[in-house]
């Protein structure tokens, strides 16, 4: 597995891509989940009891930054199918959506726009925030595993 990661990320373009996914995703999710505030001052805050949610956000961002560039590598270099790419993107989107709504501006906008349907969707994403994020991590982990496996086969990497 390490060999495969080294193989893909030996190309600096993919390291850059990885950071370009990780940093905005992490900061964006931390802002949406109210771990970071930028108004009126830039301040970070980890309230008691929310540590697990914070850890899940970091894991989702990390896995997205790992899986998506590896799949783009497969598509670009090996001209493979885009099927596995969708797993990484899907996992990232699900992980990002969970809890992003709740009582913050996103939830308010969704409820204001879609009324009771929006409220139901927001309530679902908020109520099952932790299980949804764990589910997203599982999707990303599976995508990572299958990507590494296929890269090993396609590139004949010795692990």
């Amino acid at each position: 597995m390490v060999q495969t990661i080294k193989f893909v990320f030996s190309n600096f373009k993919y390291i850059g891509l990885s950071f370009a996914i990780f940093i905005p995703m992490l900061i964006g999710l931390l802002i949406l989940s109210e771990y970071i505030f930028y108004e009126p001052y830039l301040v970070s805050h980890l309230p008691e009891g929310t540590e697990f949610g914070f850890a899940l956000i970091v894991i989702i961002s990390f896995l997205s930054a790992l899986v998506i560039p590896m799949n783009i590598y497969r598509i670009n270099i090996l001209k493979s199918s885009k099927q596995k790419m969708s797993g990484g993107v899907f996992g990232s989107i699900i992980g990002a959506a969970a809890g992003a709504c709740s009582c913050g501006p996103v939830g308010f906008a969704v409820i204001s726009t879609f009324g009771s349907v929006g409220a139901t969707a927001t309530a679902f994403l908020t109520n099952y925030e932790i299980p949804i994020r764990i589910f997203a991590i599982a999707i990303l982990a599976i995508t990572y595993y299958t990507t590494v496996k296929s890269l090993k086969l396609e590139c004949k990497i010795n692990s």
């Binding site: 109210e34 505030f37 009126p40 001052y41 913050g104 501006p105 906008a109 409220a119 309530a123 908020t126």
Partner: protein, 220 residues
């Protein structure tokens, strides 16, 4: 003439007695509102009673929803320090204004808090709601039965409380408050306005005490 005077006297007494009787029968459910109450640009007339010294130079207006977990976080993590350093010392006071938008139980919970206010237990009821808030929005923790159970646990007159809650007496009040939030550009809960002698500052979200301290100290 004497007879006429007696009749007029009896009528006047009857009218006074009637007015007194109507006041005494409705006093337990009277709405104690100061319709002129404003804090900065915000009409807090329909909001909570003032917590802290009413004459304090600064008012913290909190827009919140009883089902919002970020409001729960703020209530438990930031509010105690604000209470200790600003509310208890008379430097600031606080008004809670409902922005009940998260689920079907949110407006009912807000209405229940005003039913508790009828019995002068608003802040006690407010505290119970944030202490017993559960993770799930509309998961049943704030349904009508639980709201009544909270009132019972506080020793409220249940007949009055139930008639108030079941009649929807305060539904318009909660709607008005939610409208105030929208008109002031509050886009999520909790949302705050710190209103001082020289203006007001908005704070969005369950921000830490350090942010409130910085703003409040600048205003004092």
């Amino acid at each position: 003439m004497n007879k006429k005077g007696i009749i007029i006297g009896v009528v006047v007494l009857a009218v006074i007695a009637g007015i007194a009787a109507s006041f005494s029968s409705s006093s337990s459910e009277s709405v104690n509102l100061d319709m002129e109450r404003m804090h900065g640009t915000i009409s807090t007339a329909m909001g909570s009673p003032i917590l802290g010294d009413p004459d304090a130079p600064i008012t913290i207006v909190e827009f919140g929803d009883y089902q919002c977990h970020q409001c729960y976080n703020w209530f438990h993590n930031t509010k105690p320090a604000i209470t200790r350093d600003y509310l208890d010392t008379g430097k600031a006071n606080l008004v809670f204004v409902d922005m009940a938008f998260l689920g079907r139980d949110s407006p009912k919970a807000a209405q229940a808090s005003y039913c508790a206010e009828d019995q002068e237990m608003y802040w006690e009821y407010h505290e119970v709601l944030y202490n017993y808030q559960e993770d799930k929005i509309d998961g049943g923790w704030a349904n009508t039965e639980r709201l009544k159970a909270f009132a019972l646990s506080l020793g409220l007159d249940m007949e009055l409380f139930e008639s108030c809650l079941d009649s929807g007496k305060y539904s318009k009040r909660v709607q008005y408050n939610t409208q105030q939030a929208r008109e002031h550009g509050v886009r999520g809960t909790p949302g705050f306005f710190i209103v001082g002698p020289d203006g007001q500052q908005q704070i969005g979200g369950a921000q830490p005490f350090s942010v409130f301290k910085q703003i409040l100290d600048q205003m004092i």
